[in-house]
């Protein structure tokens, strides 16, 4: 799916994206880089102090007169003084440590601030961007996959930028200075020590490149395992009802084992790799020990130098091994960044700058509208109708005939292709209206309502900032859900949704209706919103609606004739075409789909036989009344 849009996305490069994300955190990272450089410099100082103490103070060797460090003993009172007062050296070690620790603390803190600012920016921009993506995008992408991109991949990028990128300063400084000191002390020994560098770095890079695909495979299989659990939990009622636990367990077990076996294979290789790194390090130390001893005996190296040399060597080993890892992490982070970029590069819904905000209480007109979902045959064919302002408009239609789709088009969840008709509200084409304005004005209760993990009160008032409890209650009352909610232990403060109690289908529908009502939008759409509600409650709700919302344009999708016959005008959809339209009476006079529905729901031969009085006479009376 992502591939197809690739061409258009090229404007947003990975580097560009990083720059966007780094906004606000750049200076913190810069500070962190400074501090980490300081840390490395200070850390390298201590071995020098130790060497000086061991060699010159204790060993009696003439201190070499190289660079800045030569002045240090003078500052501390001269070699003789130090020999008498060895604590001076100790204090110097402590002072340097303290300074380096302070810098390290500052480094970690600034780095953390940078990193956290970075993730905050990344998360917020991703979340905001996803909210602004067209709905068609949502339908073509797997929730689990998007979430993984927004969590694991974000973490990966953050870790890389914060742990590795600022670390690189430290690594480079450590390697370069260690090598400098080592070469300064004894070039031949240093050369010997440094032969491992290309070895370790190179092998590490090659190795990590090689296993990157294995890592990915493990990740993917973890994702699969996770999906199996997810589907098992969401579909638990179906699984139980069909007694398919055994199948589920077998499926899970197979994937669980496969996943573990993949990791075990990887584990063997990884352990071997780590241990080999250790081994190489140990062998290098052996080389140094042997050669160092030989050189020292030949008088090319002092004992103090040797000790210092070994400690620099210790400092060298860590960054070298790290460098290899970093290079391989770079490719992993690159993959993650690309996955994030794919989301960020998808074009957002945007309104033209001259988008209008007209009043939306006018007539709604569908003008020769045709529509098909991407990759599917055309679904709606040449639909034209008008919903006069302030009327109640009913829609009846077969399963999958496109009723919901029609309403989604009106809310601009999907957009019409140019040349396949137009939809207008109050004479203004909806493509010219600002999206949020349109959606605020044209409220809809979706066929399968979604509630947020918040309290019922918050759910109802979510679209209206600063709403009062009275309004919430009034809306709940109109939607006939107040009483039900009051029966809950926490009443309107009951948390629902993913992190709370599960409401039944009917309760959800009515909560969603209440949520729509508080918006007081001039156009209200009910997409089969009372299907899970019994006929009696259905009537109560419609009565209340009529009472409270007189004068608004209402579109009602329903399969219930009793509901539809109360509307001002009814549209009958069949296979994406308008089959008939008219008032209840007009449609009843025709021998069409509506009439057939009516007969199926309202009349049956038995009625006439068994209960002739009320059932059959009532509609007749009604018809008489009308005429």
């Amino acid at each position: 799916m992502m591939k197809t849009r690739e061409t258009k996305q090229n404007e947003l490069t990975k580097a560009g994206l990083v720059l966007i994300f780094l906004r606000g955190s750049k200076r913190w990272f810069a500070l962190a880089a400074i501090f980490t450089s300081l840390v490395s410099l200070l850390e390298l100082l201590n071995p020098q102090i130790i060497r000086f103490t061991v060699d010159s103070v204790l060993g009696g060797k003439e201190p070499d007169s190289g660079g800045l460090l030569a002045h240090l003993p003078g500052l501390m009172g001269g070699v003789e003084f130090i020999r008498e007062h060895l604590w001076v050296s100790a204090c110097a070690v402590l002072a340097v440590s303290a300074a380096s620790l302070l810098c390290r603390y500052l480094f970690q803190l600034t780095n953390a601030v940078g990193a956290e600012t970075l993730v905050e920016t990344m998360r917020n921009s991703l979340f905001g961007h996803i909210q602004n993506l067209p709905f068609a995008w949502h339908m073509t992408h797997q929730t689990g996959d998007i979430i993984q991109r927004c969590t694991s991949d974000v973490d990966m990028v953050k870790r890389f930028l914060s742990e590795q990128l600022t670390g690189i300063f430290r690594i480079v400084i450590l390697i370069v200075l260690s090598l400098c000191f080592m070469f300064g002390m004894n070039a031949r020994l240093a050369a010997l020590a440094s032969i491992v560098i290309p070895l370790v770095v190179g092998s590490s890079v090659i190795f990590h490149r090689k296993i990157a695909s294995k890592f990915r495979e493990c990740d993917e299989n973890e994702g699969k395992l996770s999906t199996i659990v997810q589907e098992n939990l969401t579909g638990v009622r179906v699984i139980r009802a069909f007694g398919r636990e055994q199948y589920e367990v077998a499926k899970f077990d197979a994937q669980n084992r496969y996943y573990v076996s993949l990791w075990m294979k990887l584990g063997r290789v990884l352990s071997l790799f780590w241990m080999t790194g250790d081994l190489i390090g140990a062998l290098q130390v052996l080389l140094l020990l042997v050669c160092g001893s030989v050189f020292a005996i030949r008088g090319e190296l002092t004992a103090g130098e040797f000790i210092a040399f070994l400690s620099y060597n210790g400092m060298l080993m860590f960054p070298i091994r790290h460098l290899g890892r970093m290079i391989s992490e770079l490719s992993k982070a690159g993959i993650s960044l690309n996955r994030i970029r794919e989301i960020m590069a998808a074009p957002e819904e945007s309104d033209p700058p001259d988008a209008l905000t007209p009043p939306l209480d006018g007539d709604i007109v569908f003008d020769h509208v045709s529509f098909g979902y991407e990759g599917c045959p055309e679904l709606l064919h040449d639909i034209s109708f008008k919903v006069p302002s302030g009327t109640v408009f009913g829609i009846l239609g077969g399963t999958g005939s496109g009723k919901s789709t029609l309403m989604h088009l009106l809310c601009r969840l999907y957009d019409l292709k140019p040349g396949s008709g137009s939809i207008s509200v109050g004479g203004v084409d909806i493509t010219k209206i600002r999206r949020d304005h349109l959606r605020k004005g044209v409220g809809i209760v979706l066929q399968e309502p979604f509630l947020f993990s918040r309290t019922i009160a918050e759910n109802i008032g979510i679209a209206v900032p600063g709403i009062g409890m009275d309004t919430v209650r009034a809306a709940a009352r109109t939607a006939c859900v107040e009483e039900t909610v009051d029966r809950f232990k926490d009443g309107f403060d009951t948390t629902v949704g993913e992190r709370g109690v599960t409401l039944s289908g009917g309760q959800k529908q009515r909560t969603a209706i209440a949520r729509l009502l508080v918006g007081r939008s001039p156009v209200m759409i009910f997409d089969d919103s009372l299907s899970a509600v019994d006929a009696e409650t259905d009537v109560k709700i419609r009565r209340a609606l009529k009472h409270d919302f007189r004068g608004r344009t209402v579109i009602l999708i329903s399969h219930r004739i009793a509901t539809l016959m109360e509307t001002d005008r009814i549209l009958v959809l069949s296979n994406g075409r308008i089959a008939e339209t008219g008032t209840h009476d007009e449609l009843m006079r025709r021998d069409g789909i509506y009439r057939r529905n009516y007969e199926l729901q309202m009349k049956s031969p038995e009625d006439e036989d068994d209960a002739p009085t009320a059932t059959v006479s009532a509609p007749r009376n009604a018809e008489v009344c009308r005429e």
Binding site: V93, L109, A112, F127, H138, S531, I561, A622
Partner: protein, 611 residues
């Protein structure tokens, strides 16, 4: 207690005895061997690692100071021996830690998943999918890494520390005592900081799962957010969470780096002590320079273990929550469970003994049944009795919340009556296994659920062995043939996540066909066609009366036209059956049903009057 939601008490600090380890013992038992092996290898490897600085000392004191290379070959040989030994031992330890981590997590996940398959609906009503999901996936992972890597780290660290101390003490106890002086300081630091870090870490984890939850909601609820124009509000709330996360993470980092700095300073203190006191000793000629250098390298490397120990300790403390939640999950008793005798005879959900299963005929009887939801306070049924003979169709009508779904759930034994009995073919349902019953039941749920995959995979879910003809027939019966033909690839079309690519009515039709395909003896339709148009519904009905001939069926519907022809109609109100009989009888009785039924027509009259 078992009925309490899992998440309760979470805010409190878990109080499991012995860090919750005993709760894990049953799961760790099978891993005694690799675990012991891991610890042993790690101990041995640690011992070798301690000795490495001794080589350095020897090289300085013997070769350099003594200016001789006499023992060099032996030195090299011994060193190589040590290094190879350490390589092999550490590799073994690592590999076993990997093995432990992966296999323990495998077993824990399996245990959790299998247990979930036996839990009743009330459990799933109370605990959200996301919550249970992370119990199965993340808690297990954390626990397994605790018992593998962190155990290994702790072992290695302890052996290293004590070994190093032992060597130092054996060489110069005064200097060693000086070095070990910093140990209590470091220990104190660990304790102090762990306290602070514990809370921060917990908060971070909570925020993390909240942010994941926010993403989940923002994505699955995208359509709703758009139509409500609530994006600003939702984004605003999300940003509050991320800001909180940022603050807490920085605070955590502040503590952590302060902690590292303090411990490192203690290590520098040790180094300084060695340099000072050791320097004095060397100056006086009591100690050799090589020994001094060895002491210094121990003093430096002493602190590394401290970080490890503290990370192991903090992990152990943090994992408490995970251990507790996990063990609570696997110990949650299902409130619908088969007795051991039943399992003995009929097998359980994973190993059914189908050979012992009796056929199910479909007589259903409620005998003096009372019921209350485990966490509800209203009694839904009281002393309710009803006989449904084999092959009859029962329709249930009544307001939402009247208890219709509850009644059919009782028949399916998704819940068990608090008093009284439900008999199937004359025997208490509890005398047979749940799987036996469920294998004979076709249940079409109020909210249709489809698994992501193709239409065919979904249809085959209830009966994997169905033939192509059977599938065709089932589809025709529910009039889904037209709908399926309209989809791009027919039966092999993808339905999308949770069937999102289909319209609600289509989902209902497919889940209906799925139930029919399972060829059940008892068919339960809980508002199964509420979003299907009446014409299709009528066609289904005609076909269904054919299908259900000879089968017992329970049908719940709000459109009364759906249920007119049922053999028996139960009218429910407030958890009671207030009327029952055939449509004709009920119409004659002029009761509640009559008024419900006629209301539709009166409505029209009302409307006309108001016009």
């Amino acid at each position: 207690m078992n009925n309490a939601p899992l998440r309760e008490n979470e805010s409190k600090r878990p109080r499991l005895p012995w860090f919750g380890i005993p709760a894990l013992v049953p799961f760790l038992k099978p891993f005694r061997r690799p675990m012991t092996l891991m610890v042993m290898l790690c101990l041995a490897g640690g011992c070798l690692d301690i000795c490495l600085p001794l080589f350095q000392r020897y090289a300085i004191d013997h070769f350099i100071t003594g200016e001789t290379l006499d023992t060099l070959p032996a030195f090299i040989a011994l060193y190589l021996l040590f290094v190879t030994g350490s390589f092999v031992l550490n590799y073994g330890a690592f590999y076993h830690a990997f093995f432990m981590e992966m296999n323990v997590s495998l077993e824990l996940r399996r245990a959790a998943f299998n247990h979930l398959q036996t839990l009743s609906f009330s459990f799933f009503n109370r605990n959200s999918v996301g919550y249970i999901h992370s119990r199965v996936m993340s808690d297990t992972e954390r626990i397994s890494s605790l018992v593998s890597w962190h155990v290994m780290e702790a072992v290695w660290t302890l052996i290293f520390m004590f070994g190093a101390l032992a060597i130092m003490f054996s060489i110069n106890w005064k200097l060693a005592a000086g070095v070990s002086l910093v140990l209590p300081v470091a220990a104190l630091v660990i304790v102090v900081f762990q306290r602070a870090l514990f809370h921060v870490n917990k908060k971070i984890r909570e925020l993390n799962s909240r942010i994941t939850g926010d993403f989940n909601e923002g994505i699955t609820g995208a359509r709703t957010i758009k139509t409500l124009v609530a994006a600003e509000r939702i984004c605003g709330d999300f940003m509050k969470d991320t800001r909180e996360m940022k603050r807490t993470s920085i605070l955590g980092m502040h503590f952590r780096s302060l902690f590292t700095a303090t411990v490192s300073f203690a290590s520098s203190l040790a180094l300084a002590i060695v340099l000072w006191r050791g320097g004095l000793l060397t100056r006086e000629g009591v100690m050799e320079i090589g020994t001094l250098s060895m002491f210094m390298s121990y003093a430096i490397s002493m602190m590394e273990p401290f970080f490890w120990i503290s990370s192991a300790v903090s992990e152990l403390i943090a994992a408490q929550v995970n251990i507790e939640r996990f063990s609570r999950l696997v110990n949650t008793a299902s409130d619908v469970a088969d007795t051991p005798e039943v399992t003995e005879k009929y097998g359980d959900a994973f190993r059914p003994k189908r050979e012992n299963w009796e056929p199910l005929h479909g007589d259903v009887e409620f005998r003096d049944v009372s019921f209350r939801y485990p966490d509800g306070d209203e009694t839904i049924f009281e002393h309710f009795s009803l006989k449904v003979p084999q092959g009859s169709s029962v329709a249930l009508v009544g307001e939402t919340g009247a208890g219709k779904s509850t009644l059919v759930n009782l028949v399916c034994r998704f819940f068990e009556p608090t008093a009284g009995q439900i008999l199937i073919d004359g025997r208490d349902v509890r005398e047979r296994s749940q799987l036996w019953l469920h294998s004979h039941i076709g249940y079409v749920l109020q909210t249709p659920y489809l698994f992501s995959g193709t239409v065919r995979e979904n249809l085959l879910y209830g009966n994997p062995d169905a033939t192509e003809e059977q599938i065709e027939l089932a589809i025709k019966r529910v009039s889904a043939d037209r709908v399926i033909a309209r989809m791009g690839s027919g039966l092999d079309s993808q339905v999308g996540e949770c069937g999102d690519l289909l319209s609600t009515g289509e989902k209902q039709l497919i889940s209906f066909a799925r139930a029919i395909l399972a060829d059940p003896r008892i068919l339960v339709l809980d508002e199964a066609t509420s979003s299907v148009d009446t014409v299709t519904e009528k066609m289904i009905q005609d076909a269904i009366s054919e299908v259900t001939r000879g089968r017992t069926s329970f049908v719940i519907a709000h459109r009364l036209s759906t249920i007119r022809s049922a053999d028996m109609i139960l009218v429910m109100k407030d958890g009671r059956v207030i009327e029952h009989g055939t449509h004709a009888e009920l119409m004659h009785a002029r009761g509640y049903y009559h008024s419900l039924y006629t209301k539709q027509f009166e409505l029209e009259a009302v409307k006309d009057l108001s016009v």
